[in-house]
Symmetry: C2
Subunit: 293 residues, 2 copies
């Protein structure tokens, strides 16, 4: 079976491994610290790619930022990407094809092809971490939109300018459903501006009443967003992925979502593709796009 | 060119006409008052269909309610449909095929195939009337979801239970962006609970300050919703249709939406398919689905 080089560029770590057309990792997973500048990231990618180039059909990169429909470059971003990063021409990094896709889209494709949403042709995966990403599958195809950047989870939860989002606007889903959102709910409940997301998670574990209240507020905010997405997409399932996804009480969420929506009942699921969902999804999307097997 | 019978079942009127595969109306448009009960509606449809059955390839019906993927029946509804209506087996109304689709989906398809969104493979049409409907085109295909009922515009605009929506939940986009939403904004501004949507529109025409304030609030609510839809779908355009769509200041809306979204700029457009968009869209979708030309 043919293999590709999968690379996941995260905020702190870069992962790389050989992955086959079934999404199986066929080598050791290499791990590097993510350099601080776009130039250094490009140098690191060149180094990784040159090492494996002879053995693979193509390289597939999972990255933050909105990626164009041609899967060649990042064209917009809400996150704090290094300066110059959006103009990087990824195709110049290799003599073989280089396929690039947004990390949440890659995670969604991994869940659809090999994970919790396997076989569900209409599914949404939300990556709940410091921020929130979204990847949407419609009739077995990745939703890309006119320019490739669909799936941004910046719909509003309030009209009252309560919380400023990282994108500059107010009250986006991201600033409620993220780890940062949990932290802000913790501040709302305790009045303590120094509280961290970690403090709250630890407090919930210990049964602390205020921390539980913050956690419940956070969950109910996520539920409100999921209801909207369910009514818009009528999906088979919504998968909650990312570092914060694992803290969601999916049975409670599924119950409340299905009590409220006007479309047909949906499933709320934990992700199952793990830390390597990004590079696995990137490679599987690459195989589909490049028509290789 | 082959023709089909297009039928639009509205809340107050039923329209019917012969329509060809290019979406052109080829006969007089017949108009009837919509009967009050599901049984009477079915009798009326039988009467209309039997009249034209010999001349057409199939009948296509545009209706309120969520329609299944097979386009044979209404399976869910937020509107006040007559009792029993969702169980109607439309295929039994004719010896030839009967194609059924949600009215907002039909309007969206008409705008995409022959109207303002012509040739735009990623577009959203919102029907702003007493309520709000949505039809979404993704890569040239109608977004139906797992069961066929995607496109419901019940995502939340607030977490504070400010306005009760017709669906029973609170603060859905529909209860802000509809004519009813404008009325509620008028009540908020004036304190007059008897004010009507029509009073406000008339007041805006006359330059009444309070009515203008209500109108601006209503428009800003719509803009907030459009930002979310634009970030989720990265569409070529969002078309504002329905009786309230014509009152939208689309240039102002487009400017504010594009200042706020994190994806690529989109267009906000008035609809151009007119009152017969429902039956035209139903027929064009039917030709596509039934593979006739």
């Amino acid at each position: 079976m043919k293999t590709a080089l999968g690379i996941d560029i995260g905020g702190t770590k870069i992962y790389a491994a050989l992955i086959n057309g079934s999404g199986e990792i066929c080598s050791e997973v290499e791990k590097y610290s993510t350099p601080k500048t776009a130039k250094e990231i490009v140098e690191k990618l060149k180094e990784i790619i040159s090492k494996y180039e002879g053995e693979v059909e193509f390289s597939a990169i999972s990255t933050a930022g909105g990626v164009n429909r041609e899967n060649t470059k990042v064209i917009c971003s809400t996150a704090n990407l290094p300066e110059g990063y959006p103009n990087t021409d990824f195709s110049s990094l290799s003599n073989k094809p280089v396929f690039v896709e947004n990390d949440a889209n890659c995670a969604a494709w991994a869940e659809y092809k090999t994970g919790s949403a396997k076989g569900m042709e209409n599914s949404i995966t939300l990556t709940l971490g410091t921020g929130v990403g979204g990847g949407i599958i419609v009739d077995g195809r990745l939703l890309k939109g006119k320019s490739g950047t669909a799936g941004e989870m910046h719909f509003k939860m309030s009209l009252d300018k309560k919380r400023r989002c990282t994108c500059g606007a107010y009250d986006c889903f991201e600033i409620y459903a993220s780890g940062n959102g949990l932290r802000l709910s913790g501040i709302d409940v305790t009045g303590n501006k120094d509280i961290t997301t970690y403090d709250i998670i630890e407090g919930v574990d210990k049964g602390d009443e205020k921390m539980l209240r913050a956690y419940n507020i956070w969950q109910n905010h996520i539920i409100a967003g999921l209801c909207g997405l369910a009514d818009i997409f009528d999906p088979d399932c919504i998968v909650l992925s990312g570092s914060m996804g694992k803290f969601c009480d999916i049975e409670y969420m599924e119950k409340l979502v299905n009590e409220e929506i006007v479309t047909m009942p949906t499933k709320i699921l934990h992700a199952s593709s793990g830390n390597y969902a990004g590079m696995i999804g990137a490679v599987l999307l690459g195989f589909d796009k490049l028509k290789l097997d």
